[in-house]
Symmetry: C2
Subunit: 174 residues, 2 copies
């Protein structure tokens, strides 16, 4: 067994990336406090060829030094836009046919990996590191998804959480 | 739909955590450069009730301020030990019946989510952020697992990568 060299990984160029079919998944980042987390989500979105990232509220946007540190170039490949008001972003996504899924622990959340329905185009919303998704937009969501957890915290870093959710959505569509 | 309150999440105490059955998964962190990543893996390991973390090489160990920042207390719940030489850790794990899986892109890697066999007790090794798993230990592994990626980088943050792998292993056993 030997490790693959960089040129054996099948990495595509930024130009090629813009032309390949994407997973019909939009990531919405609302009020993310840490630019490091925003950058890490860009890196993951590139890995799984996610359609777009919509950045809302107080979340940092490129160009930003902390985003660059963790995105390692993925801000060049992954499409993104900034929409300050998340309600506006949700309206736009609904008009384009996306199902809107909050990633949140609620009294009606679906457990990731159990019965996540095949919903076609989906937008997944990740909220603030401390407060999660804003209460004010809960009624605008079509569903909530939570990652089952068994420990003392019931809390994951938001970029780890996004990695798990995007992996699971990617896998469903392979 | 409403968000669950902290006391509704079913979080268990550190004392209860020590008594619940764990996933038969050991995480091995070898030469992890960033203590922030070590802490984040602790937080994820707590969420999925992983058996133990073995920390090797230059990786930071608790108590450490950067680990604490991202582990948010999970160093109290999750069992861990430091074994400087990873080969020694692998020998120990093999003697205890663990299958040793490197998380690495190699010419014989199994794709996560496709055909990962039910191997019983498993130890998953995550290597350095830049260099990955050391070439010197590749022949000591029973298998390698890689996360399929489609973008320009073919590279994930190590704590995101650990989150995805631990989620997938947890899910297989539910």
């Amino acid at each position: 067994m030997r490790k693959l060299k960089l040129e054996e990984l099948g990495r595509i160029t930024v130009e090629e990336y813009h032309t390949i079919p994407k997973m019909p998944v939009v990531v919405v980042l609302d009020n993310i406090r840490s630019a490091v987390n925003v950058g890490s989500v860009f890196r993951t979105a590139d890995a799984f060829a996610i359609e777009k990232i919509i950045i809302c509220g107080i979340s940092a946007t490129p160009p930003n030094r902390e985003i660059s540190k963790t995105a390692i170039g993925a801000t060049e490949s992954v499409l993104w836009e900034y929409i300050e008001d998340i309600s506006e972003a949700i309206l736009l996504l609904k008009s384009e046919g996306y199902t809107i899924a909050g990633i949140e622990q609620t009294d009606h959340s679906i457990k990731l990996g159990s019965v996540v329905p095949d919903v076609g185009k989906i937008a997944v919303i990740f909220g603030n590191e401390v407060d999660g998704i804003s209460d004010e937009i809960l009624h605008e969501l079509n569903l909530c998804i939570e990652i089952p957890q068994y420990g003392t915290k019931h809390s994951l870093n938001v970029s780890v959480c996004a990695g798990i959710v995007l992996w699971e959505l990617t896998k469903m569509r392979l």
